[in-house]
């Protein structure tokens, strides 16, 4: 009987949290479309998410492209398909690796800091203070982060695409002995716009999810330092899981279109 009660309680808690998240998302999105807009805060978030994430995204995609070139070369050499290395690198980077890895890295960097910042504001009553000063916490805190996440991650991924392909090129041309110009030609030969576009659509969705999870967990944090710590962890874990799940969904949409 206790076991059933525990399962029931867990299920109800789960549904409550899902409902709360859906409501939070709906309210946040509705605030995105209504003035006032805090352009200065949006600008600050654009710089925080975009500019300051460049090194981590660049490094991640650079080494991923390099490893991918090495791995695919050593694998494809077994059936004399080394010439496909450039194509495999560019397709893997643009369609999957750049958006997913950039998403996961930004979730760790930005999602955590959003949850910690908003969570601290919650437990120190700064969010209540915003309300009493006739300012909507959604408009002031959540909307700038959602807009920045939605718009900056595709730009980061586009840069990550270029850096990742460049990493593959470096290894291909200077370590594996490919002719540089033929490597570049192979890179372009089978690349279609939809490969890049699907990656950018993913990046947009991931950016939104990262910001949403950071804001949601921060906004609902309770109980001082421990609560803020839990919010930070939950935001990174939930954003990462949602990135992986939604990645499958979006890939399925593009592959089966």
């Amino acid at each position: 009987m206790n076991l059933l009660a525990a399962i029931g309680r867990t299920f109800i808690t789960f549904l409550t949290n899902v409902g709360r998240l859906v409501l939070f998302s709906a309210v946040s999105v509705s605030h995105c479309a209504r003035p006032p807009f805090y352009f200065r805060l949006i600008g600050r978030q654009l710089i925080d998410i975009g500019y300051y994430s460049l090194p981590v995204v660049g490094l991640t995609t650079l080494f991923t492209g390099m490893v991918l070139a090495l791995q695919s070369y050593s694998g494809f050499a077994r059936f004399n398909a080394e010439s496909a290395v450039a194509t495999v690198v560019v397709l893997s980077i643009t369609r999957e690796l750049a958006p997913v890895l950039a998403g996961l890295m930004v979730a760790g960097r930005i999602g955590a800091s959003m949850a910690a910042e908003i969570g601290t504001m919650r437990v120190t009553e700064q969010i209540d203070a915003l309300t009493t000063l006739s300012t909507s916490p959604f408009k002031y805190l959540v909307v700038p982060r959602l807009i920045a996440g939605l718009t900056m991650l595709p730009i980061l991924v586009l840069i990550g695409d270029m850096v990742g392909v460049f990493g593959g090129f470096l290894i291909g041309a200077y370590k594996l002995g490919f002719n540089p110009s033929s490597y570049i030609r192979s890179t372009w030969e089978f690349l279609e716009p939809v490969d890049v576009i699907s990656g950018l659509v993913k990046a947009s969705v991931f950016g939104f999810l990262i910001a949403l999870m950071g804001c949601y967990h921060g906004y609902h944090s309770r109980g001082g330092a421990q609560g803020v710590g839990a919010a930070t962890t939950n935001s990174v874990v939930s954003a990462s899981i949602l990135i992986l799940i939604s990645n499958y969904g979006i890939t399925d949409l593009f592959v089966n279109r």
């Binding site: 009553e125 209540d128 009493t132 006739s134």
Partner: protein
């Protein structure tokens, strides 16, 4: 003085799960009056305040400001009511990402759309009124002592010239001298503005200094109210025990979770 209370609670109830925190609050604050609600920890003081500010929704009852119901209002109607309010939070609740002057001017700039220049001038004037120099305006809240943060918070609460100011435990965490300084500033600010004040505290020295009238809350109900001068002869054992700080009496503090 008009007959319409500036702020009126009638039968306000609020529960969290099975815990009934507000059990039918009935209270009126007249225009220009300073009412202090006293009560122990967990008696429902803060929840009562959060219900007025719209941070919590009561389960039932009515809260009126200037005779108009505010429960259930939202959007522009709620915003209009909020413009009448100023609030000093227990922990100051200053925005740590903004310098002091922007904290004070926040309600003017963000809430009322004032340009930063005139808003800064008002902020510095309000800071001066609470005894803080112009240079303090450029510091960040983390660089200030607790007492200075409280002063900044007071300056922020009065900057937009509210009609009703709420004070949540204004002297908690301050030494007795700084507490008295803050109490004096509260009295001065409220008088200068001609505002109505509702404070909650368990600091009797503070209550005696800033109150015209006192109400005591116990187990989510107002059990006594009267002028501050009558508090020592209230005839209520609950009030006597509380104001004299005795462990023995009708109020039993919960010292362990059951």
């Amino acid at each position: 003085m008009t007959d319409i209370p500036k702020l009126q609670f009638a039968g306000v109830q609020k529960r969290f799960g099975s815990n009934r925190v507000l059990n039918g609050i009935d209270l009126e604050v007249m225009p220009g009056e300073s009412l202090v609600v006293i009560g122990g920890s967990g008696s429902g003081k803060s929840v009562m305040l959060k219900c007025v500010l719209g941070l919590l929704s009561p389960d039932s009852g009515s809260i009126k400001v200037d005779g108009r119901e505010i429960i259930g209002t939202n959007g522009s109607e709620r915003a209009q009511v909020m413009r009448k309010f100023g609030m000093l939070f227990q922990g100051s609740a200053l925005f740590d990402s903004l310098p002091v002057w922007q904290n004070v001017a926040f309600g003017l700039i963000q809430g009322r759309g004032m340009e930063p220049e005139p808003a800064k001038a008002i902020a510095l004037e309000k800071l001066a009124a609470v005894g803080l120099r112009d240079e303090i305006g450029d510091l960040y809240p983390a660089e200030l002592s607790g007492g200075m943060q409280k002063r900044v918070s007071l300056a922020r609460a009065v900057a937009a010239q509210p009609e009703i100011i709420f004070f949540d435990e204004p002297t908690t965490g301050l030494d007795p001298i700084m507490s008295d300084v803050i109490n004096n500033l509260i009295v001065k600010s409220v008088r200068e503005l001609g505002a109505t004040a509702l404070s909650i505290t368990h600091d009797m020295a503070s209550a005696r200094k800033i109150a015209d009238r006192v109400a005591m809350i116990y187990q989510g109900k107002i059990i006594w109210q009267g002028p501050i001068g009558e508090i020592d002869r209230s005839g209520s054992d609950f009030v006597d025990q509380f104001i004299n700080g005795r462990a023995e009496g009708p109020i039993h503090m919960q010292v362990r979770a059951n």
